[in-house]
């Protein structure tokens, strides 16, 4: 396996910036705590879209802002939500007018996003570009442009991917090209790390594992909401093949036949919903299988607390947030033993089964027996255990260490980058992307001539050490507008 080599290189001149806080070079490890970074999170997946990646980016950003860093997010426009928006604590989001191609991922030409992303990186005085999700074309574009501009880069991979089929081969080749000169890679589980290292032929030294987390205040147990005259199994997931909905359609009639007091509460939407409706129709289970459809994130907890058991039937998963949320609400968790799931919860909090109907039914039977005999921990006790396992503050702390390490590393100049691409990505792909990198560099020079950095107004910080928002809050004495707020 061709691991990437770490040659000693000279960093190119990064874009000059008018703000003093942009020069985040670290001389000694002692000063690490005081270093404040300007971070741009880039992904196609963000609010108002809901999911694991979106939640991760938002929560991590909020905790980094809390720690004094400046964070902005770049994503594509969602319908009418375009332009620049501000979220809680001055988290600034750029909804860029880029064309969506498939499954909320933008189409990519590697060049069309450069003018806008360059503008963001310069005006926000960005020092680290943090891209999320290997399925996001915008994330790969941002990494490519950031390296052309001489910025440090971090990439977080949130998913597992195969090796055999054509789409996997192509995606893995793109990932190899994207990550071969990225400063650091973050994965959400050790299984995910192994998968990413193999897919992108990376040096494991530059890949860290930082798990996801849940906000424990969002997922608190409420045993009063349960109907104890029956046992309720809750399933909340997108109803797609990858989430094992075919397995679920086999489990439902099997268990409902064995236990007349068992019912299923299923939240989520997707193409596999029709299979569940067919099962419900065929076995006349309308009173015992409730399909709730798509749920807002705020409603998830209200559904979870109605259940006794949380069932996850995923066929592949890098890090399953859903089972942590289920356990946080005090439910007994039954899940398939796939991907990074075995790493997520301790054995006493989860029952792991093989990805088959038979194995999952056995696991559920075991848990049902425990519930009937009263041999289970109270929801409050389970919540107390989970609450300390995964916190966003801990995730932010570990990510901050990655940033501190990254900002000490040199960014490869164009010549070294071209050599890395050719040596690491194979003769054909390496040559193609070397050519693309040269064109990208020339395009950047053209943009710098057309609209020099000096013509781009440096943005007023809404987060970070120079946050205008913090100053306004601390100096606010009256409700009247202060004309000197903007200086």
């Amino acid at each position: 396996m061709g691991h990437r080599r770490r040659g000693h290189t000279h960093a190119p001149k990064t874009p000059t910036c008018l703000n003093a806080h942009s020069s985040n070079t670290v001389q000694h490890a002692d000063h690490e705590q005081s270093v404040k970074h300007s971070i741009c999170m880039v992904s196609d997946f963000f609010y108002p879209n809901m999911g694991g990646v979106e939640s991760h980016i938002y929560q991590l950003s909020q905790c980094l802002i809390e720690k004094g860093h400046k964070v902005v997010i770049a994503t594509h426009a969602y319908g009418d939500r375009r332009g620049i928006r501000y979220l809680t604590n001055g988290l600034k989001v750029y909804y860029l007018p880029l064309q969506v191609m498939y499954n909320q991922s933008t189409s990519t030409t590697c060049f069309h996003s450069l003018p806008l992303l360059r503008c963001i990186f310069v005006r926000e005085c960005i020092t680290i570009v943090h891209a999320h999700s290997s399925f996001s074309a915008m994330a790969h574009d941002a990494l490519f442009h950031a390296k052309t501009m001489g910025l440090n880069t971090v990439f977080t991979d949130h998913s597992l991917f195969g090796f055999a089929d054509l789409s996997s081969v192509l995606t893995n080749k793109l990932l190899t090209v994207s990550l071969c000169d990225t400063n650091h890679i973050v994965c959400v589980s050790y299984t995910s790390k192994e998968n990413t290292v193999l897919r992108a032929t990376l040096d494991p030294e530059i890949v860290s594992v930082i798990p996801n987390a849940v906000d424990p205040t969002d997922f608190t147990p409420d045993p009063c909401r349960r109907d104890n005259s029956k046992i309720t199994i809750v399933v909340i997931s997108r109803l797609v093949y990858r989430k094992g909905i075919d397995l679920l359609s086999g489990i439902i009639p099997e268990l409902c036949g064995r236990h007349p007091d068992l019912c299923f509460l299923i939240g989520g939407e997707g193409p596999k919903r029709i299979i569940l409706e067919e099962v419900r129709e065929k076995y006349q289970l309308h009173d015992r299988v409730r399909l709730l459809g798509a749920l807002d994130h705020k409603d998830v907890r209200d559904v979870l607390v109605q259940g006794h058991i949380f069932l996850n039937t995923s066929l592949t998963e890098a890090f399953c947030m859903a089972i942590v949320e289920g356990a946080s609400c005090g439910l007994q968790v039954v899940s398939t033993r796939v991907g990074g799931i075995p790493e997520v919860l301790p054995n006493e909090l989860v029952t792991l089964c093989g990805p088959s109907v038979c194995s999952l039914c056995d696991g559920l039977e075991t848990v049902i027996k425990k519930i009937r005999s009263g041999n289970v921990e109270s929801p409050a006790a389970i919540h107390r255990k989970v609450r300390t396992l995964y916190t966003w503050r801990n995730v932010a702390e570990r990510t901050e260490k990655v940033y501190n390490r990254v900002c000490r590393e040199p960014v490869l100049p164009l010549s070294a980058r071209l050599h890395r691409l050719r040596s690491h990505c194979g003769a054909v792909a390496g040559s193609i992307f070397s050519f693309v990198a040269v064109i990208n560099f020339l395009f950047l020079l053209f943009l710098q001539w057309l609209r020099p950095d000096s013509l781009i107004d440096v943005a007023v910080d809404a987060s970070g050490p120079h946050s205008r928002l913090k100053q306004q809050v601390s100096h606010k004495t009256s409700k009247t507008a202060n004309p000197n707020d903007l200086t």
Partner: protein
């Protein structure tokens, strides 16, 4: 007050003239560079050369005639509807805000927004072409429901001054709005 020199988002020089008529009345005039004769000549030559190239292959004199007409019509449209010489913002504390645009042809367009409809004047950010720019705008409220913003009126749309110029106008406007509230 004397004219102050600033640049627009493209780096062209513009001037800001602030006139204080009273403590409740101020006028801001942003003047853009005059129509460049060199630019006009370049565009005209390009169109005519292209027309001549087409004529060379088609041998149709109508091409040359239409090129001349097109150039003249284009120039008239440009100076009458596109090229703004200066934009004026007149803010009167008790009355409202008047926005004026003076075109290269001498044509003027004026808009008045009464104070009861004006919620605030703010500096906002927008994605403009392949850039992200700051712009000054007036937030319009519904007198029946003062909390909601019904529409946004951008100021200095043609000259597009940079942030340092906008801040100066913003501060002055806020002083007057603070007095009138």
């Amino acid at each position: 007050m004397a004219d102050e020199e600033f640049t627009d988002i493209n780096g062209n020089w513009i001037s800001l003239d602030c006139q204080t008529h009273s403590s409740f009345c101020r006028e801001f005039t942003v003047t853009s560079p005059k129509l460049s004769l060199r630019k006009v000549m370049v565009y005209t030559c390009c169109v005519w050369l292209f027309a001549y190239a087409v004529f060379f292959f088609t041998q149709n004199t109508a091409v040359l005639s239409s090129a001349i007409i097109l150039t003249l019509v284009g120039m008239v449209i440009h100076i009458h509807f596109v090229k703004v010489d200066h934009e004026t913002l007149l803010i009167i504390g008790s009355l409202g805000v008047q926005l004026s645009s003076s075109y290269a042809s001498g044509r003027e367009s004026t808009t008045f927004i009464e104070m009861s409809k004006l919620k605030d004047i703010v500096i906002n950010e927008a994605v403009y072409m392949h850039n992200i720019i700051y712009y000054l705008c007036i937030l319009i409220k519904d007198p029946a429901d003062p909390e909601t913003v019904t529409s946004v009126v951008p100021l200095f749309q043609s000259s597009k001054p940079r942030l340092n110029c906008l801040i100066q106008v913003y501060k002055s406007c806020q002083e007057i709005l603070a007095q009138s509230r």
